[in-house]
């Protein structure tokens, strides 16, 4: 990404919109090894600290009239608990801690990434792919452990006409194996695209410093666009975490009850 030509001075594009996703070592090292402390490590650590601050210290008081942090923690808990119970059913509630962990990590990482100068860890496919592969493997193993080879009936849609069933089974098999790909790329792609769009408009914002003629029109418009897209991104940050969690619940329901 860094090798792209990014210095068209007359257009005002002085930085590349994808530069914000570069993984850089924090402490002087030049090469990124698996053990190097990078900005991804820093922001993941901050995410975990923020979750601990909210869920452990925020809800510690257990007051009858909750404080603000306690009510946010209780709201998140109740929201995810109800979602797991509604989508996977009563026997899926044992997986509530896993889904709560996924949701809290993604939503806090997304919101921290919206801070100016912050790094969005969930914009990297490497991060989301690990989470999606963990969900995929867990669901597949769980399905075979709970149902034996009866789990394969998830591909055999018994409510469809008999002639259609082999074709549908093929489509179901393909869509089953595409799950980890779409599950991870949905989150990473949404985060990456939104932040890149903000940066594209941010590159047009200082145009008034270069040419006062067209800049007087473009600069207010781009600042307005950044504000609007930022508001959209706050919404997307929550919705994508919610979608990731609810799709995990849907996959779990398939593993627990494979019969359509």
């Amino acid at each position: 990404m860094a090798t792209e030509t990014n210095g068209e001075a007359e257009a005002g594009l002085v930085f590349h919109p994808m530069d914000q996703f570069q993984v850089t070592p924090l402490f002087g090292a030049n090469k990124v090894e698996w053990f190097t402390i990078t900005n991804v490590t820093l922001w993941m650590g901050l995410t975990v600290l923020a979750i601990v601050a909210l869920l452990v210290f925020g809800a510690r008081g257990r007051a009858l009239i909750p404080t603000r942090s306690q009510s946010i923690a209780e709201l998140a808990y109740g929201f995810i608990y109800k979602m797991v119970e509604d989508v996977t059913g009563k026997d899926g509630v044992v997986f509530f801690p896993y889904i709560m962990t996924l949701f809290m990590f993604i939503v806090v990482a997304n919101f921290l990434g919206l801070l100016p100068m912050a790094f969005t860890t969930t914009s990297h496919i490497a991060v989301t792919a690990v989470m999606a592969m963990a969900v995929f493997l867990a669901v597949t193993i769980l399905g075979f452990v709970k149902n034996g080879f009866g789990f394969l009936s998830v591909f055999w849609i018994s409510s469809a006409p008999l002639i259609l069933r082999p074709i549908l089974a093929l489509i179901e098999v393909i869509s089953y194996f595409v799950r980890p790909v779409s599950h991870s790329i949905r989150l990473a792609g949404n985060m990456m695209a939104g932040h890149a769009v903000i940066k594209v408009f941010a590159a047009f914002a200082p145009l008034v410093l270069i040419s006062t003629g067209i800049g007087l029109v473009v600069t207010p418009l781009s600042i307005l666009a950044i504000t609007a897209i930022y508001a959209l991104e706050v919404l997307v940050a929550f919705i994508q975490a919610y979608v990731f969690a609810i799709l995990t619940c849907v996959y779990l329901r398939d593993a627990l009850h494979p019969h359509h």
Partner: protein, 78 residues
């Protein structure tokens, strides 16, 4: 053969891949529009189906994200 024409093809392909996002936009709009038209007919049942709507949005959107991924791969990886 210089790399210029290959790069030009990659950029044209990246631009063409972005038309897939329009399809995703149509799909998401279709899902939400139909949800809303159903929800306004029977508002008492709408609340329980919001999760289903989001699942539908997620599936429709995934294919648009794939085209975005293809564009990104053409821009930066090929």
């Amino acid at each position: 053969m210089t790399g210029d024409i290959v790069q030009m093809g990659a950029y044209i392909g990246a631009g063409l891949a972005c038309t897939g996002m329009g399809g995703a936009a149509v799909g998401v709009g279709h899902v939400v529009g139909n949800f809303l038209s159903g929800a306004l007919r029977n508002p008492s049942a709408a609340g329980g189906q919001t999760a289903t709507m989001f699942i539908g949005i997620a599936f429709a959107e995934a294919l648009g994200i794939f085209s975005f991924l293809v564009a990104l791969l053409l821009m930066f990886a090929v």
